[in-house]
Point group: C2
Chain length 578, copies 2
């Protein structure tokens, strides 16, 4: 029946039909995610509550903001996007997150955790001041509810003096199980509805409604109806207990593994995350001061083994990127050697703490930054293409980019005795690509991966940062060598500091930079500035992403489309060497 259903007809369904609808939604979600990859468990758990909200409210006049947005598939299917749903997460297709450009039913884009309550308050205020009616709903998981931004929003609910509905979808899970003080409180409320805890929420101006089984459609319909009525006079917190992965047995049992799912048949490399985990375990064996901090992502970051082997030195603080950063700074100030592993895009949340707590105090915290560069199918909100820029501008911070998984290992060994802040950034998939060298890592030292025979300096030197870009470089080199042409290739394994000695001695005519980052403030831009300082008269060409948000798509296709491209590099060099 989903196929024939128009959005406005959901309200006219009988309860039996709504139950059928839930089953159909669940099947479409499951089948699509198996094809396209995506968030499985979170979307399966949100089906009944989404149907109940769609039944009771009047979207898009009423508005809903999905926190993080990784549980909006049922909502997308109900709001007229079934036809295109098989394009999920592919270039030009349906996004895995809410997108205003995609549908009038999506009123606010999300991707990072904790923004939904602030956004609901802001939208409700806008409705009021522009004279529009309509309810505003924030749909948020218990994992996000730990995030500081949500607390700031709750504190401001009375100040802005608006009425919103917060649906707290509580499945005891972030990507990893939810942890910490707020979660304990929610657990107590769920168990026995302790009045004093409910009272707390009322301090923030929220009326509490609890739903014991948020995957029971009947219960959900009743509760949403009650919430809708209450919303006429005050803000409401509708706390629903759900099962992550609901309806798909393997996912119910393995919610962490099925939080995000790759398409069936994806290749399995040894990833950077695995090397991170192994190396930190091995370093920790000989150094009791090593600690590891994660913000709800320990499995995806390769740290499960470390957490199992060194539980007293491993801390998952939930989706609290800022707190994780300050904890590391303070641990370091207290004599420990902390490693903070995190995705590139989420580290943006801790930008001020990296400056104010870690770097201003020059504390030897090591940031292990995964999913750097274009990350692909998750789109704009998840691309890790800003980190070289926002990290390099910070004094005292060294920024390193391994050329392959073997070099990540070496960098981590280097970090063990490095007495200053250090950031190491790398993409997800990785391999041992280049022949190893026995030389230990030296701060700021680059290496030649290829030199033109018999020349002190080639006319053209290509300097690339990170595995993806060096792969492009070596591919271009191979193609050109077939035509009897050649150039030097340098691995810029430190983006900050630049290898000024190497650059000073570089007397070729042409320098080319390649990076997996936006141009502005990035590696190429830093090299341009250094060339000015060194009074170099090279002709420089920078390959980097142009100044736009990069949407979802395949990594290679996006690299090409946004400015980092084998063919263009080859054409450029041919233009010189012809």
């Amino acid at each position: 029946m989903l196929k024939a259903l128009r959005p406005e007809s959901v309200k006219k369904c009988s309860k039996e039909e709504l139950n059928v609808l839930c089953d159909e939604l669940r099947r479409v979600i499951y089948e699509t995610v198996m094809q396209c990859g995506g968030h499985l468990a979170s979307n399966l758990g949100a089906v009944e509550s989404t149907v109940a909200l769609f039944y009771a409210f009047d979207f898009p006049r009423d508005k809903i903001i999905f926190d993080v947005g990784h549980q909006c598939y049922a909502y997308k299917l109900l709001s007229g996007r079934l036809d295109r749903f098989s394009t999920l997460r592919s270039a030009g297709g349906i996004s895995g997150f809410p997108k205003r450009k995609e549908s009038e039913y999506d009123c606010y884009d999300t991707g990072h955790a904790g923004t939904s309550v602030s956004a609901a308050i802001g939208l409700a205020k806008a409705q009021e001041l522009t004279g529009k009616s309509g309810a505003v709903i924030a749909y948020i998981g218990d994992g996000s509810f730990n995030n500081g931004l949500v607390y700031e929003a709750l504190c401001s609910l009375k100040i802005l003096n608006v009425k919103i509905l917060i649906v707290l979808n509580d499945n005891d899970m972030s990507i990893s199980p939810t942890v910490g003080g707020m979660h304990d409180m929610l657990a107590q409320i769920k168990q026995n509805g302790r009045a004093e805890n409910v009272k707390l929420l009322e301090n923030f101006g929220l009326k509490y409604i609890g739903v014991k089984n948020g995957n029971d459609l009947e219960e959900m319909l009743e509760a949403v109806d009650e919430a809708k009525t209450l919303l006429n006079t005050q803000s409401v917190l509708l706390h629903i207990a759900t099962k992550k992965g609901k309806g798909y047995e393997f996912s119910e049992e393995h919610p962490t593994n099925t939080h995000g799912v790759p398409p069936v048949g994806s290749p399995k490399d040894k990833e950077y995350s695995e090397v991170l985990g192994e190396t930190l375990c091995s370093l920790a064996k000989n150094d009791g001061k090593i600690t590891v901090v994660s913000a709800a992502m320990k499995e995806a970051l390769g740290l499960a083994e470390f957490f199992a082997n060194y539980p007293e030195r491993a801390f998952d603080v939930g989706i609290c990127e800022e707190n994780a950063s300050v904890l590391c700074a303070a641990m370091s100030a207290g004599g420990l050697k902390p490693y903070y592993a995190i995705y590139s895009t989420f580290l943006q949340r801790a930008f001020d703490e990296i400056i104010h707590d870690v770097c201003a105090q020059d504390l030897p915290v090591t940031f292990c930054i995964d999913r750097a560069g274009i990350s692909g199918a998750d789109g704009e909100t998840h691309q890790g293409v800003f980190d070289l820029s926002y990290l390099s501008l910070i004094p005292n911070l060294t920024v390193a980019v391994p050329k392959d998984t073997e070099e990540l290992k070496k960098m981590l060994e280097f970090s063990a005795t490095y007495p200053h802040p250090l950031a190491i950034r790398y993409p997800r998939a990785g391999k041992v690509l280049f022949e190893g060298s026995d030389k230990p890592m030296k701060l700021g030292e680059w290496e030649y991966l290829h030199r033109v025979d018999g020349k002190k300096h080639a006319r053209v030197t290509l300097i690339a940062s990170g595995e993806r870009c060096l792969i492009l470089a070596m591919k271009v080199l191979k193609n050109l060598e077939k035509q009897g042409k050649s150039f030097d290739v340098v691995n810029a394994r430190f983006v900050k500091p630049l290898d000024v000695e190497l650059l000073r001695g570089l007397d070729g005519e042409h320098v080319i930079t390649v990076e997996d980052n936006v141009f502005l403030g990035g590696f190429g831009a830093m090299l341009d500035g250094e060339a000015v300082r060194l009074k170099k008269t090279w002709t420089i060409k920078n390959f980097a992403y142009r100044d736009e948000f990069i949407p979802q798509g395949g990594v290679c296709a996006l690299q090409k489309e946004y400015g980092v491209d084998c063919e263009q590099i080859e054409a450029y060099i041919l233009g010189i060497l012809q």
Copy 2:
């Protein structure tokens, strides 16, 4: 008696002596702040509690982290810094904030709000893992207690499983009065100790102790003693009600005006903040969609009048920089025209929200960024020298820098119909410095402030961004013209986008950039990159701050010391024109 007192002797004082000590501390603080400027009201309010903590605990073996750090003067005086205290906030002198480099009694540097609880947890964990004993205390005001980072830290207290003491110094004030849900709860606890609220704190693993008058030494001594005993078995929240400005009548009555105090006899200019307030009021008169959001700084930002005139469209959300940013994004998505006024250094906290909420959705939020560039006496944690870099790297964001207060007004008028995200950054003090032009502001268009007579292009073009740098430029020009030499001066009032048309047509030999920002990722660096793209063969020289944290001192002296210097610019140009 303060003069003869060694830190370790405080414990041996009688209660009478401690009372005398409080009076003396208060007098030294008052007199020093009148001389040097600094935080007055917050430090006066913290005297008794600091003395009580110093009496009961054993610093520096025990450790205390002052949140924000603007209430640590009594602690500094007790810990052996009386002799040097008259150098407060001057170059090379005593810092107005805790500084590890200054004394072993300062265990963790602060400056921004909300870091103390995370830091205390991290330090306590470090004590445990490195086998050291000693209590760890976070001393935090109720204004900071609204901050999301504090909530994240509270959520993680049980996860890290350490015992800390949190002293919550509750004076009902941030810089402005404290507001919001958490404050209401604290107010209720203070009034009648409602059990259900206290219970909440216990969910986080905190035992609650309340002190009705935290400026009563006797009460404080008893409570600290109780807290110290409890701390053996669990974490404690010691909630003390104090009076901001205590003991100085004018300050008690005007805590906002005396939060930060300039030295007596400081000159009073018409500041950028005043122009901001006036212009927004005047724009709001004709545009009902204009809203203003502030994070606990409305007076310092010049917005008091706006808040008085348009209370329904003005929102102070407390020290919640991230929430303020998302609120603006959502208001904008809902059809309003929000202005977010904030200090440069504090906006760092909202870096991810600027990217993820405002710019990725291309929403027309206007950031009015005060205290940009070197801010002077507050030191490392307060310099606004990173904003050109961390803002320019973000797609969809325009970055403007007015040359004087008159141009700020024009930029705000420009913003009223500008349909994309916009950041306008300016320092504190400002004037109308340059002759006005009637031309309306055009996106990305620079202007010549001086052209060498009769030349299409001078040999030397100096391009400067912002009032301070243009003042330097015009001063150098005046000096050189006395010697019969001259150069072109350009006002780069947009740092992003650069005026590419002007640059493309620029055919002189030498280009010089000057900015009030670090070099990396800043204006000069962007121009260097653009020169590469445009294949320009200019000889470029960039004047900007070098890659270091800039300590406290006078603005001009620091500009010079860190790389932006009249004499050097003059010498450089003379070197060319000789």
